[in-house]
Amino acid sequence: MSTATFRIWRGENGNGGFKDHTVEVSEGMVVLDAVHKIQATQATDLACRWNCKAGKCGSCSAEINGSPRLMCMTRLNQIPLDQPVTIEPMRTFPHRKDLVTDVSWNFDVKKKIARFKPRKADAADGTFKMGQADIDRVQEFRKCIECYLCQDVCHVLRDHGKHEEFIGPRFFVYNAALEMHPADTGDRLGALKTDHGIGYCNITKCCTNVCPEEIRITDNAIIPLKERVVDEFYDPLGWLLKKLRPGATKG
C-alpha cells in the first residue's frame, strides 16, 4: 500500500494555515476517504461537511489543488500523488473551521426569490398535464444539488464580493427553473434586472465548468434569462407592443 500527503487548510474563522497529513491510500479512494481517514486516526477535530458520499447531496465542496470540487467525487487516481494534495475550504464564503464555511448567505438569497406560483391545475384533484419535452430543461436545472461550487468560482462573488447585489449562478439556475416551468405564472424578470444583478455576469462560464451535475448553467440558464430581461426592459418594439396589447409578450 502506498501513502499520500494531504496539505489541508486548518484553522478557525480565517486564521490558520496548511498542515500536512500523510495516510495510506488504496484503490478507488476519493479525497473524502482520505479526509475521513485523517479524521479517524490523526485529527478527530478536523472539520468537514459531508453526507451522501455519492455526489448527490452537495455537502463536501472544497478546493482541491485549487479547483472547486466535491471531495466525494474526486478520485485519487485523477490527481498527482507524488506531491502533496492541497485541500482548502471554499473561499467565497466566510470561513468557520478547517474545511467548513458559512454558506448561510445562499439560504438567505433563495428566500428572496419569488416562489413557484402555479396556474390553475388541469383537474380538480390537482393534476397538471405537462409534456416531457416542455419540462426537459426545467429538469436539467432541478438536478442542482446546491453544492455552491458555482458560487465559489464566480468572480463576481469571489473577487468582487458583490454578495449584496448579485445572487450568483446557483440562483440564476433556480430562477430559470421557475421561469421556464410550464405551470408557473410568477414574474421574476424585474428582480433579476435590479436586486439580483444578472447584468454583472459576463458569461465566462466558470460556473458551468465546475458544476458536478453538468448543468449548462451559462448557456441554458443565464443567457436565456438575460435575453428575457433584455426583451422585457430594453426592446423598444416590445415596449410598444406591450403598450398596445398588454400581456402579449409574456412567456
Partner: protein
C-alpha cells in the same frame, strides 16, 4: 450553570428530510409557531439519496391500480406484521400527497399524455412509482424545502438534539447544541415531532450517511416511548461492492425496474431458481416474460429480480456464500444486455438512470451501458422504530410524535421500494397536523433545569478526558464491525448473545472517549455524543432479533429458518424499565378491520 440560548416554539420538528419538512409545512399551515432542527444543512438529509421513486396508486400507467392493490402489496411485502390501519391510510393518501408536490413546484417525469409517469418496482403489482429519472428524493426534498422556507418556519441548521425534556411524562422540549459553535440550545415546545430517519451507521456496510445514528429512536426510548419491530433492518440487495471506498453506496432498484438482471459468475439468472410460493402467481417463469413486463406489457408478470428486497438480498448472499459470486464478493447486475432488445439502449439507460451511470463511471470506472455492475447487500433502512398511533403518529409519550423512517408500523417485516418517500409525506403531514392540534390543546409544560444541567455536564465530559483517552471513531468502527458480523443479514442466537456482551463492553468504552480541541465544529466530539444513540438502538435491534425466533421478512434466523404462525401474530416491543434496563415483550399485531381483511382476500 450551563450557558444556553433558549428558543420557544409551539411545535418542534427534529429532522429535515421529507417527513420533517412535510410535518413542518403542515403544522405551520395550522397556525402554530414551528421550529425545525436538523443535523446537517437544509436539503442534505438522506431523502436526497432516494432514487427510484415515490409509490402512489395514481393509475396513470396501468388503470388497474388503486389503493386496495397498493395496500395489499404493502401488507404482503411486510409479511402481515404491519399496522393495517397505517398501510390503509398510506395507500389511500399517497396519490394526493404526490399531486400536492406538483402544486408546490415538483416536476416528475411524464407519460405521453402529460401525466405523472410511473415505473415498476419490487413487490408492487403495477407500475406505481412516480419518479424523476433516478433522483426522485432530490426532487422531493428540494420541493418541500423551497416551499417550506416561505411558510414562516424557523430553521435551526446543524443542531443536534441530546435529550428530550419531559414534565410529568409529557414532552415539553429538547436540549442540544449547534455543531458549528458547540453552543447549547434549549428548545421549549408543546409538541415535538421526531423525523430523524434511521440507524444505518450501526452497521459497517451501509448506504446511510454519518447522520443516521438512531437519534430519534434513542431519544424517544429514553423519554419513555416504546420502540417496535426493531429487529427488522432492511439490507438493500444492491449496494456497490467495489472499489472498497464506495462499498455500500446504493444502486437503485430502478435498474431492475428498467430491465436490469442479476447473474452469478456462471451467467445464470439465479433469481428464477427461488420464487416464494406467495409470489409464484405474480412472477414470470421465463426471461422473455420478465422483459415484456419491464416494457409495460400488462399481460406479463414481473421478473423475479423484482421480488421483495429481503428475498433478493438473501438470494444474493446465497450465491456469494456458495462460491458463485463476482470477483469482489457480490453478484452481477446487468442493464447493458438490453441493447439486444432496444436499438438505442445506451442512450435509453443514460436517460432513465442518469445518476447510476454517473456514479459508476466516476467512482468505479464502469460504463453501465456496456458492462455489468458488481453489487451486494447494504444496510439501508429500518422498518421498526417508535411505536405510534396510526392516525395521529403520536407515541406512547404525550406530545411526542414520530414520522417517516423513525416511526414503526407501515412496513412490517420488510419495506417495499418506493413506500418510503410516500411514507414521509403521508405521515409527515399527519404528524404535523396532530402535533399542531396537540399544541393548541395543551399549555406549555415546565422545563426541569436539573435535566438540562445533567445533559450539558454529560455532553462535555469527552473534553475533560481529552486527547489521550479512547478515540470515539474507533469505538464507532468497532461497533459497526460487530453489528455487521453478529446481527447482520443472517442471524443466530449464540452470535447475538455475544453481541449483547460486546455492546456492554463498547458501552463502557464509549464512556471513556475523549476528544482534543474545543467545541467549534468538532467531529470527534459529535461522534462521541452520537455513540450513545448507536448503542441504544443496537441493543434494541439485538434484543428484538433474539426475541423473534423465526425468519420473516428482513429478519433471517439461521437457527429458525422458517416462518412461524405464532410469531406472525406479534410485534416485538422494547421499553425502558424503571431500573433503566431494556425490557422486551411481544404484543399482538393490531387487528385488521373486516373491510381490510376482505381487501387482502380479494387481492390474493
Amino acid at each position: 450553570m450551563a450557558d444556553y440560548q433558549t428558543h420557544t416554539h409551539d411545535v418542534l420538528i427534529v429532522g429535515a428530510g421529507g417527513a420533517g419538512l412535510r410535518a413542518a409545512i403542515e403544522a405551520s399551515a395550522a397556525g402554530v409557531s414551528v421550529g425545525l432542527v436538523c443535523k446537517s444543512l437544509l436539503g442534505k438529509a438522506h431523502t436526497v439519496m432516494a432514487e427510484g421513486g415515490i409509490a402512489a396508486a395514481l393509475a396513470n400507467v396501468d388503470d388497474r391500480d388503486n389503493w386496495k392493490v397498493h395496500f395489499a402489496d404493502t401488507m404482503r411485502g411486510g409479511q402481515y406484521v404491519n399496522h393495517g390501519r397505517m398501510a390503509e391510510l398510506h395507500a389511500k393518501e399517497a396519490p394526493d400527497r404526490v399531486r400536492e408536490l406538483e402544486t408546490w413546484g415538483a416536476v416528475f417525469d411524464r407519460t405521453k399524455d402529460g401525466g405523472i409517469l410511473q415505473r415498476n418496482f419490487g413487490g408492487h403489482r403495477y407500475p406505481r412509482l412516480a419518479h424523476v429519472g433516478d433522483r426522485t428524493g432530490l426532487e422531493m426534498i428540494r420541493t418541500l424545502q423551497d416551499h417550506g422556507v416561505h411558510q414562516g418556519i424557523d430553521v435551526h441548521m446543524e443542531v443536534t438534539v441530546l435529550t428530550l425534556l419531559t414534565d410529568g411524562g409529557r414532552v415539553v422540549g429538547a436540549f442540544g447544541y449547534d455543531r458549528e459553535r458547540g453552543r447549547f440550545r434549549l428548545f421549549k415546545a408543546k409538541a415535538i415531532v421526531l423525523a430523524t430517519g434511521g440507524v444505518g451507521r450501526a452497521f459497517k456496510i451501509t448506504s446511510n450517511s454519518w447522520e443516521y445514528t438512531g437519534d430519534g429512536q434513542s431519544l424517544a426510548y429514553h423519554a419513555g416511548a416504546e420502540l417496535k419491530d426493531m429487529e427488522f433492518v432492511q439490507f438493500h440487495p444492491t449496494g456497490m461492492v467495489w472499489p472498497p471506498s464506495v462499498q455500500g453506496i446504493l444502486v437503485t432498484e430502478g435498474v431492475r425496474g428498467e430491465g436490469g438482471v442479476l447473474r452469478n459468475k456462471d451467467g445464470a439468472r439465479f433469481m428464477f431458481g427461488d420464487i416464494p410460493d406467495n409470489y409464484k402467481s405474480q412472477t414470470a417463469d421465463n426471461e422473455e416474460e420478465g422483459w415484456r413486463y419491464c416494457q409495460g406489457d400488462k399481460n406479463a408478470r414481473r421478473p423475479p429480480e423484482l421480488l421483495t428486497r429481503d428475498h433478493v438480498a438473501r438470494c444474493i448472499m446465497r450465491e456469494v456464500r456458495g462460491g458463485r459470486g463476482s470477483p469482489h464478493g457480490g453478484v452481477f447486475l446487468d442493464i447493458s444486455w438490453i441493447k439486444e432488445k432496444l436499438p438505442n439502449a445506451p442512450e435509453h439507460i443514460r436517460r432513465k438512470l442518469p445518476s447510476m451511470y454517473h456514479q459508476f463511471k466516476q467512482l468505479a470506472d464502469i460504463d453501465i451501458t456496456r458492462e455489468p455492475m458488481e453489487v451486494g447487500p447494504t444496510t439501508h433502512y429500518i422498518m421498526g422504530g417508535v411505536s405510534v398511533d396510526p392516525d395521529s403518529q403520536m407515541s406512547s409519550v404525550p406530545g411526542l410524535f414520530a414520522a417517516g423512517e423513525v416511526a414503526a408500523g407501515l412496513h412490517g417485516a420488510n419495506r417495499l421500494g418506493g413506500n418510503s418517500l410516500s411514507d414521509l409525506v403521508v405521515f409527515g403531514k399527519r404528524a404535523g397536523e396532530f402535533a399542531a392540534k396537540f399544541a393548541k390543546d395543551h399549555g406549555s409544560g415546565t422545563v426541569n433545569t436539573a435535566q438540562v444541567e445533567a445533559a450539558a455536564r454529560e455532553s462535555l465530559a469527552p473534553f475533560e478526558r481529552g486527547a489521550g483517552a479512547e478515540n470515539p471513531f474507533t469505538v464507532q468502527h468497532d461497533l459497526q464491525e460487530m453489528m455487521q458480523d453478529l446481527v447482520g443479514i443472517v442471524r443466530r442466537e449464540d452470535e447475538m448473545v455475544r453481541a449483547l456482551e460486546g455492546l456492554k463492553k463498547l458501552s463502557a468504552r464509549a464512556a471513556t472517549t475523549g476528544v482534543p480541541g474545543n467545541r467549534e465544529y468538532n467531529p470527534g466530539w459529535h461522534t462521541a455524543l452520537d455513540l450513545q444513540n448507536l448503542l441504544t438502538v443496537s441493543e434494541a435491534i439485538t434484543l428484538s432479533a433474539i426475541e423473534r425466533k423465526e425468519s420473516r421478512g428482513a429478519q433471517f434466523r439461521d437457527d429458525f429458518p422458517d416462518k412461524s404462525a405464532e410469531f406472525g401474530k406479534v410485534n416485538i416491543v422494547v421499553k425502558k424499565a424503571a431500573d433503566g434496563s431494556m425490557q422486551v415483550r411481544r404484543v399482538p399485531v393490531a387487528p385488521l378491520s373486516d373491510e381490510l381483511k376482505k381487501v387482502i382476500e380479494e387481492q390474493k
